[in-house]
Structures are given as structure tokens and as C-alpha cells.
Symmetry: C2
């Protein structure tokens, strides 16, 4: 039924000629913008069918209109890593939801500075056709790309990134929330705590936190969360996990809790997955949570799938992060001013935090 498959792809001009109308009229027949006699429209559509014409070429249309209908989403690291973080999914979903209603789709881009990239070859983030860009969990390494995007007049929104000139900031109160959680711990009487952090730098290695962590940190949320705890506790033991996962938390937990003589009474983890890992380690070492050890998480994932522990944790509005970014981008595209957004986390009491053993 696929009609005469001609050699070359048909163009609107060919369709117009075949229908005996001008290109402009043929265009109007397809786009519906402007008056066209029903009979003429039918003739054009008929010609299109005969020629196997698949509708106006999206690229040509984009060039003329100045809009591609594409919003780039730049995600740090590899896709696999990114999707392992349970917070990214609802965020993306909120974003897609908000953009989708405006007819925009999402182009997945990975941070070019992570891959082994030629400095000579321009990164895809700099050459992809996009109307706007959303940076998520991106570090300052992207500065060069951001500058380029700005020169190309492409609106940029950044989720949980260090505020940048000319970039719409969708922030989370990571520091305040962490301080809140830490204060709660302190209030309960904990004096010796440990923090398990997300990867702070680009190297993603595991180990005790170095003295100069702040100077080398590139992950803004991780640094902010750590600062929040330090706002309450001057001294603490820090352990950096190589990723946000149960396995990494487990390893971290084993290290931190190994020495019975020198055990913290509480662990503040920078993600729920890490917290679950720490709990598993505690479990294995025969420690009861929260009687022997309190564990505080961060994120507010639904833990039902993970063994059913009810984590005490700082819940972040993940979907709303995406939604806010989507709405912001839409406003910027419409030429309207878009105010920065600050989202707040809340402490959700669970069954993993209590007073320290006497």
C-alpha cells in the first residue's frame, strides 16, 4: 500500500508541483496556518500520498522557525550511573511531564568532560540542536560548555548546581536540611558521629575523607550536605563512597564500624541507598539499629523494595525538581523572566534514629 517508492525522498516543492499549486500553498495545507480551500488541501494531500511524502522535514522547519522542540538534559557520568540514583528517575519524569505538555522532548546528553574526549573535537553538548538545556548534578567542569551555550543564546537551567551567572538555578536546601538532620542527632545526645558522603570529586574513589576535601570538591550537593553537618558538628569522621549504592554504603559501614573501641553512635549518610548499606553492615556486625547505632538517610526513597526498613531520612521533592526546571525552561523560552527556585527537604521520622546507648 506504500505507493510508488520513488528514488529520492520527496520534498514539499515536488508535492506542490504535482498538485499544481505553489510551495507556499502546499506548506499552508500541511501546517494549517492560513486559509486554504478544502479542495486544494485535498489535492495537496493526495499528491503527497502519491509521491510518498512523509510531511515537512523537521530540520528544515526548525531552521526556518528557529525552534527545534528539543531540550537537552545533561547528566553527569554515564547513563547507567545516573539511572542508578533513584532520585534521577522521578526528576526526569517531572521534567518530561512539564516539557511534554509543551511539545518538547528530551535529548539525553552526558557530561563530555568525563568521557575520554579530544579537546579538539567539540563535545556533543556544544553541537546538538536544542532550544534549551537543563544541567543536572553537573559540576563546574562544564563551565566552558556553559559559556558556549550562553553565546548561542540558549537558555540554561541547572538543578542543584553551584549558582552561575545567567543560569536559572533550581536549588535544594541541601545544607540547611543536613544541618537540620544533624541538629536532631545532636539533640538526641549523639556526640560521636560519622558521615558517609556521596562522591565529592570526579575520581569516585572510596576512603576516609581527606583534610582538603572542600578545595577538591566538584559535586555541589555533596559538599553542601557535608557543610550542613559541619554547621552542627565541628569534628566528625568522614568517609567518601564511590557511588550512591547499597554496596558502597555497606563497604563504608564496615570500615566505619569495624573497630568496636572507636565506634560512632550515629551515621549520617548522604543518600538513602548509602544508609541502607550502612544498616546492612551494622546488621552484620551484630549492631541493632537504632539501639546501638542511629542511621540517618537522605532522599526519601520508597524503601519497601529494599527490605522494608523504615528509614529516618531527609525527604527531597524529586519530581518537583524536574517540574520546576521544566517550568523555568518554558518561561525562558517564552521570553519571560524565570525566578530561581529553592526547594526544601523535610525530615521524615522512621525507625533508624534514636538516642545513643547509655
Amino acid at each position: 500500500m506504500d505507493a510508488h517508492a520513488t528514488r529520492a525522498r520527496a520534498t514539499l516543492a515536488a508535492v506542490a508541483e504535482r498538485a499544481g499549486v505553489s510551495r507556499s500553498t502546499a506548506s499552508l495545507a500541511f501546517s494549517g496556518a492560513g486559509p486554504v480551500a478544502p479542495e486544494t488541501r485535498d489535492r495537496v494531500l493526495e499528491a503527497a500520498r502519491t509521491l510518498g511524502y512523509g510531511g515537512p522535514d523537521p530540520v528544515a522547519r526548525s531552521l526556518r522557525r528557529g525552534r527545534t522542540g528539543i531540550v537537552g538534559v545533561v547528566i553527569e557520568d554515564r547513563l547507567r550511573e545516573a539511572f542508578r540514583d533513584p532520585m534521577n528517575i522521578p526528576m526526569l519524569d517531572g521534567l518530561a511531564d512539564e516539557l511534554g505538555t509543551a511539545g518538547l522532548s528530551i535529548l539525553l546528553l552526558t557530561d563530555p568532560t568525563t568521557a575520554g574526549s579530544d579537546p579538539g573535537v567539540p563535545a556533543v553538548i556544544e553541537t546538538a540542536p536544542m532550544d534549551a538545556v537543563v544541567l543536572v548534578g553537573c559540576s563546574t567542569r562544564l563551565d566552558a560548555s556553559v559559556a558556549l551555550l550562553r553565546r548561542r543564546r540558549i537558555p540554561i537551567a541547572a538543578i542543584e548546581a553551584e549558582p552561575m551567572e545567567g543560569v536559572l538555578d533550581i536549588a535544594l536546601d541541601n545544607r540547611r536540611a543536613s544541618a537540620l538532620g544533624a541538629a536532631r542527632m545532636h539533640e538526641l545526645g549523639h556526640r560521636d558521629i560519622a558521615v558517609v558522603t556521596l562522591p565529592l570529586g570526579p575520581e569516585h574513589s572510596a576512603g576516609a575523607l581527606a583534610e582538603d576535601w572542600e578545595a577538591r570538591a566538584t559535586s555541589f550537593p555533596a559538599a553542601e550536605r557535608l557543610r550542613g553537618v559541619l554547621d552542627v558538628y565541628d569534628t566528625l569522621r568522614g568517609w567518601m563512597a564511590p557511588a550512591s549504592s547499597i554496596a558502597s554504603g555497606y563497604t563504608a559501614g564496615l570500615s566505619i564500624l569495624a573497630d568496636p573501641q572507636h565506634r560512632p553512635t550515629a551515621v549520617i549518610a548522604q543518600s538513602d541507598l548509602l544508609a541502607l548499606g550502612v544498616i546492612r553492615a551494622a546488621d552484620e556486625l551484630g549492631l541493632m539499629v537504632p539501639a546501638d547505632l542511629s542511621v540517618l538517610g537522605f532522599d526519601g526513597i520508597r524503601t519497601e523494595g529494599y527490605g522494608g526498613v523504615e528509614l529516618t531520612t531527609l525527604v527531597q521533592p524529586a519530581i518537583e525538581k524536574g517540574r520546576a526546571a521544566g517550568r523555568g525552561v518554558l518561561r525562558l523560552l517564552a521570553g519571560e523572566p524565570a525566578p530561581p527556585v529553592l526547594l526544601r527537604c523535610t525530615l521524615r521520622p522512621g525507625q533508624t534514629v534514636g538516642p545513643p546507648a547509655a
Copy 2:
């Protein structure tokens, strides 16, 4: 430092004029395709900097070159649903990996037929600029869009879809694998089994499998897996889950195992998440797995994060699905023939399947 931010966005023509060279030379200076005197190049680059030119416009370049560097990935349902399925992540990762090395990025598209879409307004899948398309877990509802893409001469690959003319098929041996698993159950002596299926149709409702399921099924993998079991067991109890999740499996498990007088000795689940849910239900009803009930999964997820049960399951090569699709698309784009791919699942013995109680 951003130089004279001129009113209008600068074009290559403006840069060329400013540098005192022709547009063609300016173009060569940027693309590097062709000989340009170093001094000339510098002059062009300098002019670009002065004018705040951000490099060649991707859309214009795409129009001329006939390539966008974008591959659309059509995912059924909403993103949230899609990413909940643990098999989609590694698949996407494999795909991104393979496409990334060729400089292509992924445009996320959702099945337009699911959303409440105007039939008048063309779906984004039909108007997005793309070089190729990968359909994943898509049903025959997409037929119209597929026809359009074909008319636009856009190569299409489909993962686990019903084979279609002109669409590169990346298949999984769902039926054979399921039959294999079922045969193993039969071999062990199970005579009364139940199957928990993935959503078979678009409605995503839960409940006992209807007689006419085959006629109404739109999900090809789910149907194939069910057929595989039916190749071994003529009669069985079927229960359709509304989604691939632990919660759905749990609900299904409770329904299937509720009546002690009429309990199957084994449950074949169409995904590991469903299997884990069934196991949880069995647990709650005081049934030992595999002593009182055998449970077979499908997918081969790493279950460590989910409570540590070692599932007996049919392992599918998820990353390879994505890779194969990626490679296939690349070949099609290069104009080479791309052979269809058939990937095989393997039965991985765990601790959830055994002989029925005597």
C-alpha cells in the same frame, strides 16, 4: 569577559565579513574540512570571539549535511514506568554506549498513543528531527507512526517487538526461554502451576487472565513468554499484574496463594520484580520457598539490593539488547545491511525452585 554582546545572534556570514574572508573559508576554519592557512584561521576565530559567535548553528548544519546526530528512542508509557523496569536501564546504557562512540545522542520519546493525544496534531515522533529510531517494548499501536517514519526513509530498529516489514528486529527468545523454564518445572514434578504475567494489554489492570487474552494482547514479550509456558503446560492459572513491580507481584501472590485448598506448587513470574513480590506474599502466608512453593523469575536482575534472595530466573542479556540495537542502527545509517538479531536467555539456578512437596 563575554565580549560585545551584540543584539542579534552572530552568523557565520558576519564572522566571515569581519575577518575579511569568504563564507566558505570561514566555514572551513571551523569545520577543519579542507586546507586553511593557520593565520587565516586565527583571524576567523578572533573575529568569532569579538562577535560572540558560538560556532555553526547545529540546525543549519544538519539541514545541509542531512544528519542530525540524533537517534530517537521510543519508550512505551511514561518515563517513570519505563525506568521502573530494571531491564530498561542497562538496555539504554548499552544503546547510549554504542551510539555515543559514533557521536549520536538519544532523544527520549514516549509512545504518543498512550497520552491523550489529538489525532489532528501530529505526534512528536513524527515531527522530531532524527536520523534513526529505536522502538523499545512498543506495541503495534505504533503502526501508523512507523509507516510515516518509513516514508521519511528513517531507519528503524525495534527491540522485542512483533517483527515488522522494514524494521530491524532485535529479538529475545522469550518464548523458548519461558518454555525452557516451564520444562524445568515440569521435570521437577510440578503439575499445578500459576503464571504471573506482565501487563498484556494497554489497560494495565490486575486480575485473573481472561480467556481471550491472546486476541487482546498488545505486549509482544509478555504474550510470547506466556505462550512459552503454554507450550509445556496446557492448563494453568494466569494472573495479570498491572506493572512490573514488587508490589504488583505481592498482590498477585496473595491472590494466587490465598486459598490453601487450591494452591499451585509453583509460580512462574514474567519478571524478577514480580517473582520477588510473590515470594514476599508466600513469606507472609507462612510458605517456605522453595519447599512449599517454587518461584521462577525472568530478567536476571541483581537481587542483592532487594533482600538478598537468590532467585532462580531466566537471565536476559539486557545491555546486549541495547548494544545490538545501537550497532544495527549504525549499520543502517551507514547504508550497510543490518541482519536481525536474536538474543538468548539462560536459566540461572538460584534458591527459589525445587521439587514440589510430597
